[in-house]
C-alpha cells in the first residue's frame, strides 16, 4: 500500500486546521487496533502451514513431521517459545526459521539455497518485489510454516534456553549488535528501542530492555501486518528494522539475525506468546 501511504501523508498534511487533540488520536488508534482483533487473516496462513508440515515435499518427498525443533523429532507444541536454542547436530544456535531450513535440507533433500529461497511472502509493496521477497502476493512456505508452528505455542511462556555457552555467546553478540550504531543515519536498534513510551509517527516503540515491553513486542510476532496484507515472521522483523536503519541487507537466517533474536527472546522471557497477532 505504498501509494496509499503516500497519499495518506499528503492528505493528512492538508487536513483543515484543528486543535492537536493528541489524546483523541491515540484513543482512536487504539480503537482501530481493537476492531481489527475480530478476524485475523493469520489463520489462513496457519492452516496452510499445518498442511505443509505434513505434506511430502522436496527431492525426498518427505514431510517435516520428523523435524526436531528442539523438543524432539516432530514435537511442535510449545517448541516456538523455547527458541532460539543450541542444536548439537548443527553445532549452532538456531531460531525457528533457520531450524526449518535445516529440516528442509536434511529431511526433504532441498539444498540450503532452495530452503532459504522466498523466506517471506510477497509483500505487494512494489519496491520490495525483488529477492528475498517472492513477488506480489506470492506464497512463502517458510512463512506459512512459521505461522502454524508459532500458533502451536499460543499462550505459553517465552523461555529461550541459556544453558549452552554458544547460547550465551549469541546473546552477547545480539546485545552488542543492539547498541551498534552505523550507517548514514547513525542508527542502531537502540535509537528506536532504547527509551520508554516513544513513537515513530503513531507507532508505539517497545523499549527492548524493559521486560514488559519486550514481552509484548516479542510475544506478538509473527503477526499479520495489515499495512502489507501479509503474515510476517521474526526474521522478517529483524530484516525490516535493519533495512530501515539504512544498514546493508541482513541475510535471512544469518547468525547475526539469530543473535538479535536470541537477545530479544531473553529480554522477553516469562511473557506469554500471543501470536500470530494482527498489527498495523
Amino acid at each position: 500500500m505504498r501509494i496509499h501511504r503516500v497519499l495518506a501523508g499528503v492528505l493528512t498534511a492538508m487536513l483543515p486546521c484543528f486543535a492537536p487533540a493528541q489524546q483523541d488520536t491515540l484513543k482512536e488508534i487504539e480503537r482501530y487496533r481493537q476492531l481489527l482483533q475480530d478476524g485475523n487473516p493469520a489463520e489462513l496462513y496457519e492452516a496452510r502451514g499445518e498442511e505443509l508440515w505434513k505434506r511430502g515435499r522436496g527431492p525426498k518427498n518427505a514431510s517435516l513431521e520428523r523435524c526436531d525443533l528442539g523438543l524432539g523429532p516432530g514435537v511442535v507444541k510449545g517448541a516456538y517459545v523455547r527458541l532460539p536454542r543450541y542444536f548439537a547436530d548443527t553445532d549452532r544456535v538456531q531460531d525457528l526459521e533457520s531450524r526449518l531450513v535445516t529440516c528442509m535440507v536434511t529431511l526433504q533433500g532441498f539444498t540450503t539455497e532452495e530452503a532459504k529461497r522466498n523466506p517471506f511472502s510477497g509483500t505487494g509493496v512494489p519496491m520490495l518485489t525483488t529477492d528475498p521477497f517472492s513477488g506480489v502476493g506470492q506464497r512463502s512456505v517458510m512463512t506459512d510454516l512459521v505461522a502454524w508452528i508459532a500458533s502451536e505455542s499460543r499462550g505459553m511462556k517465552i523461555a529461550p534456553s541459556m544453558s549452552h555457552p554458544k547460547e550465551r555467546l549469541a546473546y552477547q553478540a545480539g546485545e552488542n549488535l543492539f547498541y551498534y550504531r552505523a550507517g548514514p543515519y547513525d542508527f542502531g536498534c537502540v535509537t528506536c528501542h532504547g527509551e520508554e513510551g516513544k513513537r515513530i509517527r503513531l507507532q508505539n516503540l517497545p523499549k527492548m530492555t524493559n521486560a514488559k515491553d519486550a514481552q509484548r513486542a516479542f510475544g506478538t510476532w509473527p503477526a499479520y501486518r495489515v499495512s502489507e496484507g501479509e503474515l510476517r515472521s521474526m526474521q522478517w522483523r529483524m530484516w525490516e528494522c535493519v533495512r530501515q536503519m539504512r544498514f546493508p541487507e541482513l541475510e535471512f537466517a544469518s547468525d547475526a539475525s539469530i543473535a538479535l533474536i536470541t537477545y530479544l527472546a531473553k529480554k522477553a522471557e516469562g511473557g506469554a506468546l500471543d501470536a500470530p497477532a494482527i498489527k498495523r
Binding site: T12, R181, P184, K198, P248
Partner: protein
C-alpha cells in the same frame, strides 16, 4: 567492512572486566568476525562498508548512548568542527518545501531510488505542524519552535547547525547527522530551517 569494531563491541559483554581494555585476539573473536561478515551483504546503495563506524558511532555504541562527561565533550567538540553553513549566509528557505521534506521518511534505504533526494524524516520523531496528527515522539515537539524563539540570526544558525550535525550539540543524540552525513543538501536544510522559524510556517501558527 570493518568487523574489528563490531567485534570489540560484541565481545565487551563477555569480558568480565568490561570494555576498559581492548580484548585480545582469540578464537572467539575470530568466530564473531566471521559471523558479522557472513550476516550482512551489500544491496543496492546500502553497501557493506556502511557497517564501518566513524569515531562518534563507535564511541556512542561503546557507551550504549551514554558517554561519560569527558567523552561527551570530546564528541561535541570534534563535531562542532564539522559544521558548514551556507556560503551565501542565507539560512532560511521556503517553509512549504520544508514541510514536504519533513514529511518524507524516504532516503538511503536499499529500497529507495538513490537518484531521488532524501526526505528529512522529521515527523517520524517530532511534532511540527499541528495539522499532522501522525508524528513521532523520539525527539521533542517542535511545534511553535520559531514562535517561542524568534528567528534571529543566532537562532537560524542554531537550527541549521543542529540539523546539519546534531552530535555537535548533543553527543550520542538519536538524530541523524543529516548534513554532515550527506543525507540532506544545504538547500534542503534551509527549507527545514524555514519550516521551524518562518512566522508564516504552520509550525508557528
Amino acid at each position: 567492512m570493518q568487523p574489528k569494531m563490531i567485534l570489540a563491541l560484541a565481545l565487551c559483554g563477555i569480558w568480565v572486566a568490561g570494555c576498559a581494555t581492548r580484548p585480545s585476539d582469540s578464537e572467539a573473536e575470530r568466530a564473531l568476525a566471521e559471523m558479522i561478515k557472513a550476516s550482512f551483504k551489500t544491496r543496492g546503495q546500502a553497501t557493506i562498508d556502511r557497517l564501518n563506524q566513524d569515531e562518534v558511532q563507535a564511541l556512542c555504541s561503546e557507551y550504549k548512548g551514554e558517554p561519560p562527561e569527558g567523552v561527551r565533550q570530546k564528541i561535541e567538540k570534534s563535531q562542532q568542527a564539522t559544521l558548514r553553513y551556507p556560503v551565501s549566509g542565507k539560512m532560511m528557505g521556503d517553509w512549504r518545501e520544508g514541510q514536504r521534506i519533513a514529511q518524507s521518511g524516504a532516503g538511503r534505504q536499499f529500497t529507495d531510488d538513490p537518484a531521488r533526494p532524501a526526505g528529512g524524516s522529521c515527523y517520524n520523531c517530532h511534532q511540527l505542524a499541528p495539522q499532522e496528527l501522525s508524528f513521532g515522539t523520539i525527539g521533542p515537539s517542535l511545534y511553535r519552535f520559531g514562535k517561542l524563539r524568534g528567528s534571529s540570526e543566532a537562532i537560524q544558525k542554531y537550527a541549521y547547525g543542529k540539523i546539519y550535525n546534531s552530535e555537535a550539540f548533543s553527543a550520542c543524540s538519536n538524530m541523524p547527522r543529516l548534513g554532515h552525513n550527506g543525507v540532506l543538501t544545504e538547500e534542503q536544510i534551509t527549507h527545514l530551517v524555514a519550516l521551524l522559524l518562518d512566522p508564516e510556517s504552520p509550525v508557528n501558527k
